[in-house]
Symmetry: C3
Subunit: 198 residues, 3 copies
């Protein structure tokens, strides 16, 4: 099992937990929690795969992703108060997922033969659109349109990854640097309240 | 024409009628009624087909589904008051559609070679996500997240179907038993006010 | 470069500008503007392509569409007040885009081998569903369900195009006549306040 796979699963778990927390806050029932958890974790990647024509969508051919989402539902119901207290750890793992989802989305789109700008866009869609669909389903205006340097961090990190791949064949290292870029950008943007309002 | 096809068409008609009633309640115009009727009836199956890569989506290759939706629009405009009075008959046909859409969704997903848990999920998506998309388009929080044992009935019925298929080759009979399971679960859940809040 | 391509790009630009204006009105940030601009311009065609199985979706294989959207974002930020004053020119170009998107959507759907009624529907989806997705993402009830003869103009124009194609091989001329039909219907419907409430 590669480190990429492990971080991908961790990202899925944390994204799903954040979805389930949203569902609980909206007083959804168990089914609602599963759906919102699933959509938050795999919705972005599903949209990317449907758009680029890589179907069945990725998470369907490896059952571990669905089980990870179900685990997230159980963990969140059992340890809700502890999880909501650990905002810092949750945020760390969330940025980890953000970075990994972006890079994997960029890679998958390039592998289909699409261009670099489309790959950057699909990297951001992979990482950010699960949250957009979650917000639409809970009848809220998607958060990323308003307040946060979120998709921007993904696009810049994706750009770093593609640039590094041009000069170096150490893909693992390139991924790590690009992910760290995304994590740092995201962390700094929240800490300093960066925004892109013009 | 098989009994499966007939019930599938009846389910399409009733789902579409319920969509058109929603559109009328929201004071949408004729186009809005057609779109909401269509989305309610074929939206779940379309999402399933796009996710599993079975495109063009099913209803596009058999024009009867589109005609059934248009018939539903005409019937609802002509007989709105009579239809809204017949809540019991409508509910019966609605559960019939729910059962059939679920089983057909499970079958189609298994035929693509995907796993049983994914097939159960796609069965529920086929039956329940038309209503979710309808609710999103009419700017309401999807009902199934809050109050009803709806998707759960689909998943349990799908499980019954798959279990029966392992032991018996009488697929028609297995389908009927699974559909009855979904119909009874759905009927009882509404009658007794079951919910899955934890 | 054909006249069809030029009008398609103009339509993309104008649809994207209208999306960006919506985003600015909702006080979205730059990323929100890009996403809403992109979704308004290419969302309808993307949904059509995913439904009929023509993936990667069209705009991904020709980078000019993405660049046109980015150009729309820049133009709208720079010249917002001038653009919002030119409502008549904007409306003219918007109906031009509406007509072209419809006809191209009808053609693409027929080319996949689907039936005429489905092609008419997909023509309307190509032209009108970008706006629907924009409205969903900005948490508004889609406008086309309520007030405007919009999708209807697309379906009638599509019908004119298909009818002309049966009798004449001058496809360019047929496209122009069909587009003019859509533009005139749309213009008259807005001018006279036509609606389809029954």
């Amino acid at each position: 099992m590669s480190w990429v796979y492990i971080i991908d699963i961790i990202g899925t778990l944390v994204f799903a937990i954040s979805g389930v927390l949203t569902a609980i806050r909206h007083k959804f029932d168990l089914v609602g929690s599963v759906i919102i958890g699933l959509v938050t974790a795999v919705g972005g990647g599903s949209l990317r795969d449907m758009l680029i024509g890589e179907t069945p969508v990725g998470w369907m051919t490896d059952i571990n992703y669905l089980y990870t989402v179900l685990l997230a539902v159980i963990l969140t119901y059992l340890f809700e108060s502890q999880i909501t207290k650990r905002t810092k750890s949750m945020f760390l793992f969330d940025t980890l997922g953000l970075g990994m989802f972006t890079i994997l989305g960029v890679q998958k789109t390039l592998n289909v033969g699409l261009s670099i700008p489309i790959a950057l866009l699909m990297g951001a869609v992979s990482a950010a659109f699960g949250g957009v669909i979650r917000d639409v389903l809970t009848n809220e205006v998607p958060l990323i349109f308003r307040k946060e340097v979120y998709a921007t961090a993904c696009i810049l990190g994706g750009l770093v990854f593609i640039a590094l791949e041009l000069f170096s064949t150490y893909t693992n290292l390139n991924m790590i640097i690009a992910m760290l870029t995304i994590m740092v950008l995201r962390y700094q943007s929240v800490k300093r309240g960066w925004s892109l309002h013009i």
